[in-house]
Every structure is written in structure tokens, then in C-alpha cells.
Assembly symmetry: C2
Homo-oligomer: 229 residues x 2
């Protein structure tokens, strides 16, 4: 059996592999999980012994297929829980992350199945992130980029919202910016500010660090994909 800690390390490595280019450096893992570098070294050593990561000393690690499966399992738990807490227990969109971060390690497979069934097997969580299937096949991320990347004047669909910082989420939620919403970029100010107009007609100004949390795509692409499926 794997400890909650090991699961968190694998999940972190999974995410870091996606973000950057593998292998993932020990110090990056240490930063992400807020532990001292030797702690990360020692943990990746155990993960390597368990064949959950491939490790090259002084270089870093990459997940093995088994390691990736574990990561996907934990992510599935996490996102199903976030969806469940939001839909069934009335949690606020911004407060589910912390709870899911813990429970993801403690629910049984039975619980996972029943929650998935109760939610009618959802494939995205409340933040717009894809939920791994019960067979834990590799996810292909929905292609989307930061709000400012499309330039001004484009009509865009909010694909997902990064769930790292609850404050950001509360702000965005209050402003009416959620996955599924469409908006137009009015202005990308060089000062570090993006202004968008919602369908309600309202105009919202977002400081860069918050705008970065909003991942958008073109509505046409989204429509194409639906017709494919």
C-alpha cells in the first residue's frame, strides 16, 4: 500500500511533468510540496525502489507507467470529490480544493464508484479540469491558453480556472467568470491588466496574476470537439 505522502509526491511529479519538461528536478518537487530538498531526495529514492518513478541521480525523476496510474487514480479521486462537494453538498466553488486534497487519499474504491455514479460519471470537475476515467487511461488535456494570449477583440470560452488559490477563485466566481462562460477580451493593458466583457454586458478588469488563472479557447474549437464525440 502507498501512503498519503507518496501519493502526493506522485501527483506533484505528474503535474510538474505536464508543466515543464521531464525529468522533474528534486528541488522543484521540494518547492511544490513545501519540504526541504533532502526530504524530496529521500522520498524519490523510495519511489524509485518501488518502481513508481525512473530516477537518474542528480538529474531528476519521471513517472513510470505504474506511477502515472497512481497519480491518475489520486487525481480522479480529487476531481470527483470536488465535483461531489460542489454539486451534492453545496460547497462553494472556491472551498472544495482543500477538502479534496485530504480526502482523495482516504476514500475507498467503493466510495469512488458510488460518487461517480451519483454524479452520473462526470468528465470535468467544477474548475473545468478533466476527470480521469475509471480505467485511468492517460488524459489528453483540453487545449486552452491564458486569457491574454489571444489578443484583444476575440470572443472566447472559459475552459477552466486554475484552482490553486482560493482567493482568486472567489474573486473570479464573484465576477461571473466560470468554466463554460463566454466573454470578449476588451483590452490587454501593458500595465499588467486584462479587461473582459461578459455576455451580461458587464466589464471586468483582471490583474495579470488573476488573468493567468483563466484558461480559454475558441468557442468554435469546442463545438468541433463535441460533434466529433
Amino acid at each position: 500500500m502507498l501512503s498519503a505522502k507518496m501519493e502526493d509526491y506522485l501527483k506533484a511529479i505528474y503535474r510538474l511533468e505536464r508543466d515543464g519538461t521531464p525529468p522533474v528536478a528534486t528541488s522543484t518537487i521540494a518547492d511544490t510540496l513545501d519540504v526541504a530538498p533532502p526530504t524530496a531526495t529521500s522520498m524519490v529514492e523510495t519511489l524509485a525502489d518501488r518502481e513508481l518513478v525512473e530516477r537518474e541521480k542528480y538529474k531528476g525523476v519521471t513517472l513510470t507507467p505504474e506511477g502515472e496510474t497512481v497519480a491518475l487514480e489520486v487525481i480522479r479521486h480529487h476531481r470527483l470529490l470536488e465535483t461531489f462537494l460542489t454539486e451534492e453538498l453545496g460547497y462553494d466553488w472556491s472551498e472544495v480544493h482543500e477538502e479534496a486534497e485530504i480526502l482523495e487519499h482516504h476514500i475507498s474504491e467503493e466510495f469512488e464508484r458510488r460518487v461517480a455514479a451519483a454524479l452520473d460519471n462526470p468528465d470535468v470537475d467544477p474548475h473545468g479540469d478533466p476527470i480521469p476515467s475509471d480505467t485511468l487511461d492517460p488524459i489528453d488535456d483540453i487545449p486552452a491558453s491564458a486569457l491574454a494570449d489571444y489578443g484583444e477583440g476575440r470572443r472566447l470560452l472559459v475552459a477552466r480556472v486554475r484552482d490553486r488559490d482560493p482567493e482568486e477563485l472567489t474573486y473570479l466566481d464573484g465576477a461571473g467568470i466560470r468554466p463554460g462562460v463566454e466573454l470578449v477580451v476588451e483590452e490587454v493593458a501593458p500595465i499588467g491588466m486584462v479587461t473582459v466583457r461578459l455576455d451580461s454586458g458587464e466589464t471586468v478588469a483582471l490583474p495579470d496574476h488573476i488573468a493567468d488563472a483563466v484558461q480559454v479557447r475558441s468557442p468554435e474549437d469546442a463545438a468541433d470537439e463535441v460533434s466529433e464525440a
Copy 2:
């Protein structure tokens, strides 16, 4: 903060205090939690340092008010979870215990509040055990005794069913014996067998060890209490 282990020890001590006469012996705790005696000794020492139990060396321990509050908190979590899993996720009556045994230590106070609200603040769990209030006031147990204690011929109300062994629960559930059901004791055989008749007319024979799991009371007493409240 208290670890999951410490919470389990406090919950066990709470239950053992109810069952027998305090103080609770170290070896009893060790047996209950399935650890070696020195393990229990060392843990009750830490609990005493934290002032969660009163300890007299070579005698045993009793919960302090703070320790009792922690125990009640964990029991509240456990029983709310059991109720929730049964009512909202369609768990079988007999399979909720194990899941609740783990999750009880990991849900937040927010989760507790929301689950309680979703269930409309229940005061008994699916096995008929009382759920501590959110203020964690001491519970007064619903008075009830083992099936055989009333003698033959009495009409009785099933108050609760001990949730220790899932096999027993499955058997009893299959036989239609659940909290709230009324039945008549047909025969208490000296061989170690109790036969009861349900309202459906069906007769069920129960070996002693299973009959002991069924806690009953007189229907009149139950009615009295309802009118009091």
C-alpha cells in the same frame, strides 16, 4: 492537532468505559485496537501528557472531559458518515462501518456541518446508535438489552444492532431484522439459539452470538419517550 491514531485510542477508551467499569486497563485497550501491550502503554502516556486521559500507573485510564469531547466528536463523524453513506450513496447497511472508520478522522468541520444539514440533522445512525449533537454534549444511551433477556413471548422493538461484524449485519438485514422493526421472541433454546417471529409472520432462528448483536426494548417505553420529547 491529534493524529488519527490518538483519536482511535480515545474512541476505544470511551466505549470501554461504557461497557465496563472505569478505569480502563491498558491490556483491554491493546486488545481492542489490536496492538501489543507496550504500544498501548506508550500511547496512554502521551494521551495523559496531553491531558486527554487521567492515568494511574498499573491501574488504567479514564477520559478527562476534553478526552471525552474528542471521542464524541469522532463518534459524531463516524455515525454521520454511516448515515450519509447509507442514505445518500446507497451503501449497503452492512458495509458502511469500515469506510466511516477511516473517513471519521479526515473530514473537516465544514464537511460535518454540511452532511448533517443534508441529512436534516439525524439523531440516530443506520444501526440505531445515537449521534452526538454538534455541541458534543454527553450522550445518554437509549436503554436496551440483548434479545434473550426479556424471556419468551414478549413483543419487542429493535432499538439497535451492534455494528462490529459485517457478516452478522448482512445476516440480520437479510432476515429483516433492523432498528425500528418489531418482533416477538418465540423461544429461547438452552442450546444457544433464539427464535423470533416477525410481523411478516416469518420465523427466524438466531444463534446466540448473533442474537446478542440485537438490542431490543419494549415498544411502550419507546412511545413514552417520544411523547416526552
